[in-house]
Symmetry: D2
Subunit: 376 residues, 4 copies
């Protein structure tokens, strides 16, 4: 009988992180994929990943409407509560053999609660890493509640085992996000990005910076200031076009959005800037690959970038402690520190790809392992 694996996609980042795995599950005769989406993945404001998911040919079996519309920190807890209430009933009804959840966003803890409290095995991807933000705590709490662990680095594996998890339930598969980066896809044109978002039309044959900055939930009051510094710094480099992605749904995002809006409304020099809400995973992979420099605190600027060998300037404490490749320069959220770091990166010629976060075969490794597990 097919194993029914429920995968929960709750944000635009989630989808990129497990897209290759979703395809493997969908295409395998050994598994039935149950796809659950919810939270910010359903929300227009955060670039409705659900639309991307369906365009990619997946059917979303269950939708969990739970994202609280607020930039205040208590909203993160309330969102998790509302998700838990709904997901508990949905999982009870579906009775999957196991539930897959990805990484460390605040909503994901509701998934591991709803499943583990009902003795449904939890499969956690990307445990054992270190970062700043509430993410760091959430990631470890997910590890504590999960039963099987597919991690992305050797150090992560050791950390998960140190947390008391049995060795034979921890597998270093690498990060499935890298599966998308493995081969250059010729048929992907970035020109489509000129059709969404607002701002100047860009020429993707010319150099550009990719900017993506999320709030630091543990230091919300500085969100706006940090984003302003990034914009100012990037704007000094007039030879480069700039693509800026709006922040995710973390508490404090209104500060970031405010900085962007102020810049757009007040600044005269918006030449070469384009502002995007969300980007489908394959286009995002290309955008990363071809960027002259990545600037911000998206975890992809560490994980995917190291595999691609793309110069990256990682800002502030959101990714504090994460393992980084030589392509990453850490910078403080000040114009001075940022400008120096960006200058260094654009002078420096290409970095070599490294396999710190995997070799691009994660989903295959995961699915092979899932075949062997007896979920009982």
């Amino acid at each position: 009988m097919k194993k029914n694996i429920a995968v929960v996609v709750y944000s635009r980042a989630n989808f990129g992180r497990c897209k290759s795995l979703l395809h493997e599950l969908k295409n395998s005769k050994d598994f039935k994929l149950t796809l659950i989406s919810g939270a910010s993945a359903l929300t227009d404001r955060f670039g409705s990943s659900a639309a991307f998911i369906e365009k990619e040919g997946f059917k979303i079996d269950e939708k969990i409407t739970c994202l609280i519309d607020s930039s205040e920190p208590e909203a993160q807890a309330i969102t998790a509560g509302v998700s838990t209430i709904q997901l508990a009933g949905v999982l009870k009804k579906i009775k999957p053999d196991a539930v897959v959840l990805v990484a460390d966003r605040y909503e994901t803890l509701s998934i591991s609660i709803a499943a583990s409290y009902q003795n449904i095995p939890v499969i956690h991807l990307q445990g054992g890493e270190i970062s700043g933000n509430i993410d760091d705590k959430v990631r470890n709490a997910n590890t504590a509640l999960a039963d099987y662990h597919f991690v992305a680095t050797k150090q992560s594996k050791d950390r998960v085992i140190n947390m008391g998890i049995s060795k034979n339930k921890v597998f270093n598969s690498g990060c499935p996000a890298l599966d998308l980066l493995k081969s250059f896809k010729k048929d992907i044109s970035l020109d489509v990005l000129n059709q969404s978002g607002v701002g100047d039309e860009l020429d993707f044959n010319k150099p550009y910076f990719l900017i993506s900055q999320h709030p630091l939930t543990t230091d919300i009051s500085n969100s706006e200031k940090h984003m302003s510094e990034i914009i100012k710094s990037a704007n000094k480099f007039s030879d480069y076009q700039k693509i800026l992605i709006w922040p995710n749904s973390d508490a404090g995002n209104s500060g970031i959005s405010k900085a962007i809006r102020k810049f757009r409304e007040q600044d005269l020099n918006l030449d070469g800037w384009r502002f995007l809400l969300a980007i489908p995973p394959d286009e995002y992979a290309e955008l990363l690959r071809q960027a002259s420099c990545l600037i911000g605190n998206s975890s992809s600027f560490i994980r995917e970038s190291s595999f691609l060998g793309v110069p990256s300037v990682v800002v502030g404490d959101r990714q504090k402690g994460r393992e980084i490749g030589s392509n990453v320069i850490l910078a403080k959220p000040s114009t001075n520190s940022l400008s120096k770091a960006i200058k260094k990166q654009i002078i420096r010629s290409g970095y070599k790809s490294n396999k710190l976060y995997g070799d691009g075969n994660a989903s295959k490794k995961i699915i092979n392992q899932l075949r062997k597990i007896n979920f009982g």
Copy 2:
């Protein structure tokens, strides 16, 4: 300025575990105690601990009504969700300097979420231990979300540190429940227990067994059977009176209750049995101290019992992996295994007290440490 410490008491077990700390906080000029109660602690069916709390002279500042009335496992998740939603708002309003939560019951994860997602420091008592049940996962998830850790054993301290927590935030205070056991209180008479519950009037100068069995949330279907075996085994020892405490609100409790009800309705030999819903902490301490044998899977039959040196038969997997003293015999939930173990214990003369879970000064140690912490 006084530090405002919010302590959350969500079950009858919680109250005993932190009663001595509540007194310390209330009586100290350095702290303001904000007492939050909720979940099964407010519920008549589970022996309303709120009444005990108020009788003890505490004011409950906030009540969180969230316990779902169901013995099904999804109800545990839904209860946690409802608690998270309410507690998030309550903590936002109170803005305490820190929130204290105890141990590992499924509801407690809502406390650590509601606080940590708002960057309110979380103080966790009794992390780092090992047990069966969903408790084991919840305890570690609480550790992951908490900021300060007061553990009860040396091994627990090592485990918490291994989980990635900074050494200087982990303190081995011992378990505050033992503070209540430190000195024999002459003024406590167990005769009051004849005024609550149902069953025979007991003579507390004569020997008795204390029986307390909770469901194993990971093996709900056997709850009834295991309880029946315990009752049958205990009933063979006609020289001993039996005090049985109804189970807590964990999923599967209806199986346990059913076994008790069937016994009460069908069995002719109910001589010497008394059935109690809940017992105030001090009376419970005395009841443990004077018991001839403890039978069941209450964690107090390991923790408190080791300090007291009282013979204890711990049944099944709920406490699997927990550190035990020499006074504990582990038994399978079968009449055969249980009868043997009970027989051994009543033959054996008194065990020596051991300090495995602390020396009875936990609250003093905790409060001294809290004085030093700058919650920022």
Copy 3:
């Protein structure tokens, strides 16, 4: 194409009220029945109607676990909130052509919200009546949110129309609960009731009182006292056996339960008393039919009793304002008033059946109407 009609059964009373309709829908080739159960209907403590429903051959398609375990009034609101959150998602997924809900219990408002806010047509049974309790408000709020109205009396029809509802959406079908009473079912033996509950074994060939008292949510503090008065009064009539049904989940039920428990634990004269948690609809119909006198405030003591012509003593304000037949005597919740009323009723010979609440063909009328409605 079949019309998909979702019927929501949230309490033991609900099931009796719509059982005949459920059968009609299930057996009709024009309809697909989607059966949703939840709240106290799923809860052992309130006599799990879900078990009765399944024994009757129905499949419960969706279960909504939402009943808060508390006798405090705020719990009624929280239960409704938890139900709304879950039911919104479930109805979105099912997309029924219409949702049927019954009467006036506090949980039912969550059904009409979850459906009407999504533009799913709401079919309300038993609107337009008058009673006390929070029920009176809830019933009218349900009418306000509903689209089609099947009422039980002529006066009710007028009242619904007066509330601004278009005449052609209000149908006087009578109450479907009476459908079960229409013909005496020979194959139903009440002896099975000796196998559930606790108390004396009864002889159903001998006369008995049926007692069912629920709290008055608007006067919770007197719940216990009123129940005591009823028990005392009934106990004076030693020639009659007494069947008492535990109260429903309304706020204040713990007062009623307390009165019953005190009576059971303290009173010596328990001869001839039997205490039941819940009774399947057909057995309940027989129990009503053969009773010497009904005592309490169950609405069935007015509705069903008038059809059956059974003597009934309706106590207090819970049913205040409801249309009554000549078989009903209203009494105050005092021993004096109650004893007089009971005495009158047992002297009085049988009342004639009256059709105040319908002629026993309600479900047929409802389903015929549903066939004609274009839910669009």
Copy 4:
């Protein structure tokens, strides 16, 4: 002792509707005002009314974070559920003598549930009116749950009484929103509006249209189209500046926003347009007063406009059935119908003020009545 009156403000519209009452309560020695805000009133996206409230000198005592971020209809139900859960606890804690709620938005039903289920008297403003949208049902459900009713028109009073409410609990006070319109406030300059929102700087001494269109929750799929028709129609009148207010949080709002965004991004002729998120009550009153024509389906285009005698074109079915003054022309949401109606209105010279919705003394009348009520 002062009567503690809790007023719940859940949207920007709510605040304007009860601002004058809030001042009366705050300034009276007979009352203690407890101000509760929540839902879209707290949300930046909908123009955070909370900021206006605090700027006006009020303290918000409790904040209820509950708005689900979604334009789908089920989100309206889930928002109501989350609000109910939180508000139940907050009202239990506050124990106000009564709770005031305004009108008919979908969230407001959670207020009447949370209060009435706890027997806290509910005071409802603006019952008995007729409109389209889910509002019509919600308004009547609020009436059903409320205890005291302050209505705005004679017809409304009759309708509330017809719904079964006792005459002596229904008072025709008129609408408190009109209190703000009573006297022309010289010190209010509309120029501040050029400092918020985006678009052209306007000259408020020159003529302008005020446009405010909300979704029709019962016909969500046409939201975008209807808004487009309005924009196109208004844009034909190049002699008039246009002020457009973004839609409220009703399901379907994303369609409206999309139409506006498309217009802004694609249209060349944006001359004279300004787009605003929210406007404080006094500025809004002035903006209404001085407008050449109001276009859309805001209820203020009927209520306030009739008092002011401002020409108004009310579009579509959202306000269907509401009593209107002679200053209102109803139009279909098509360019043709709209253009005709607008042309008529700008030709027509000023209308006379009429008192259909009150005489501008509502708050005084309400507070005088509240003094007399014994909330018991």
